[in-house]
Symmetry: C2
Subunit: 307 residues, 2 copies
């Protein structure tokens, strides 16, 4: 089971951090961006090359500290097809370095369209007589608003190819309450969404008890996080909102089960933009990211025992 692989990496490194590789043109140190713009002009292709060089440096600096990385697709799509090519290269490089790679794509659709998304990010497509894997991520985030029809095709791919998804349940943003906290009978909507995904994937629990259908639950709602941990005993959590969005190590402690398992905590800007605070114009971006990831690991270890 895919989350077994992730859990074992977490135990080996005693660190449940996933580093968000979420570049914006401004986040790439100027010396890297300028070199690529000089080579290819002020083009999306040049910026995409700069993204990849930045990511490669980050991955090299982080791969023995964090078990996983999570590129946010939006920032790559922002550079058009060249950006998506940089995303694919980043994923392949991170996998080669032993990292568990999560595509933060929040895809959602139904029927053959959902099948196409799941084949794109987690599966394969048949071209002529060849079976090709377009991106081959380990896991992807999805949005479950469309119900079972929008989730089941992804779970099908997960079962077949030993992959996993994280379904949005309770997101970290201030207005997540507008729809997600609406009361539906005895439950809130986000609880209903959580119950649905736990039920859909019940048959896939791995050796640590977690199914292939995880949940996204924000660090910025620690009470909800704790109560969802109790409610969804077989659901692995991806927890955004740590660091830049305001969640601290104490806030995310409730995401873990009694053995310190069952969750990964994402941090993006705090790690990849750590160089902005060192006053060295990003010449030390990799070391700065590494130092920040070590600091976060220390803070998490103080709150949770990762056996």
């Amino acid at each position: 089971m895919s989350f077994d692989i992730l859990q074992e990496k977490i135990i080996a490194l005693k660190n449940p951090t996933v580093a968000g590789l979420d570049p914006l043109p401004d986040y790439v140190p100027k010396h890297i961006m300028d070199r690529h713009l000089a080579l290819k002009g002020e083009t999306l292709e040049a910026a995409a090359d700069a993204y990849f060089e930045f990511n490669r440096g980050l991955i090299d600096a982080l791969c023995d500290i964090v078990p996983a990385v999570k590129p946010q697709s939006a920032y790559y799509e922002l550079l058009g097809p060249a950006g998506v090519a940089a995303l694919a290269k980043t994923a392949a490089y991170a996998k080669a370095k032993g990292l568990y790679v999560i595509a933060d794509v929040k895809r959602n659709d139904i029927g053959s369209t959902a099948e196409a998304y799941s084949a794109a990010y987690l599966g394969t497509v048949k071209i002529g007589g060849s079976e090709l894997a377009p991106f081959d991520f380990d896991a992807a985030t999805i949005n479950g608003y469309l119900g079972t029809d929008g989730i089941a095709p992804f779970l099908e791919t997960c079962r077949r190819r030993n992959k996993a998804v994280f379904v949005l349940v309770k997101t970290s943003n201030p207005s997540s309450a507008e729809l997600q906290d609406l009361q539906v009978g005895e439950r809130k909507l986000y609880e209903a969404a959580g119950d649905l995904i736990e039920a859909l994937a019940r048959d896939t629990a791995g050796k640590y008890g977690y199914t292939c259908a995880g949940a996204v639950v924000g660090a910025t709602y620690p009470e909800e996080l704790k109560s969802l941990r109790r409610r969804l005993k077989n659901t692995f959590f991806l927890v955004p909102g740590y660091g830049a969005q305001g969640g601290g190590a104490g806030d995310v402690a409730g995401a873990f089960d009694e053995n310190g398992r069952g969750a990964v905590i994402n941090s993006s800007r705090a790690i990849i933009c750590a160089w902005k605070k060192t006053g060295r114009d990003g010449l030390d971006f990799a070391e700065a990211a590494r130092a920040e990831a070590i600091k976060m690991r220390g803070a998490l270890r103080e709150c949770v025992d990762f056996r």
Copy 2:
């Protein structure tokens, strides 16, 4: 206002059809796919070239019949970065032919990530001193599960660049009821979602009364469609589910206002795979698509008066 442009195209052609450009490798006539595989081998790049040739033929055959096309991004992402490049080329070609082009991407996220998505599909990004438009679609579909934080950044881009979005409200699939029909106080969840987007975009109504925030409402729920039309007087509808998914012209009539305005009806497979029924191995794929689009236009004109 972006929906004014679409509405005027609909009035000019007396046709509210949007043709879904949703290719799968199997949907491309064999003579096209085989030629590209012979050129570039059994690769994602070859399949992407075949997609584009197929789309170009469809667009040429449809551009004086339908006002709009809607490529579903999943099928392009299925071919990795090369597929996304074919999507960008398809969008540019369709725009050059005078079509209104909707990106069916169902993107969703918050804060700077939502800004990146909206800049990618509807806006621009600054690279060095240049302002570049990565895809430059006229409109995009989005998923509103994250609330205002996930919708507002898109509306910001729409206001600035005269673009539009369609937010998922009531989707066409059988299990859409699981979450969307849950009762929240006096309303169903999908009604709450509809009310939210109508309120968020109120200040953007154009000359036909419609704001830049449209809604996706499935043809397979004609009663809900009719009651949402009454409820959301300023919200333009994108209606999937016609044809292959079972909705007929009578089912979608309720999507239009008393002047026959305010909605586009999507058909994908029935149009782009029409060649599969003519027994000519797809040599006539463009004519077959055109004939099917003319038939659909006729059926819609019988039910609604498009002034």
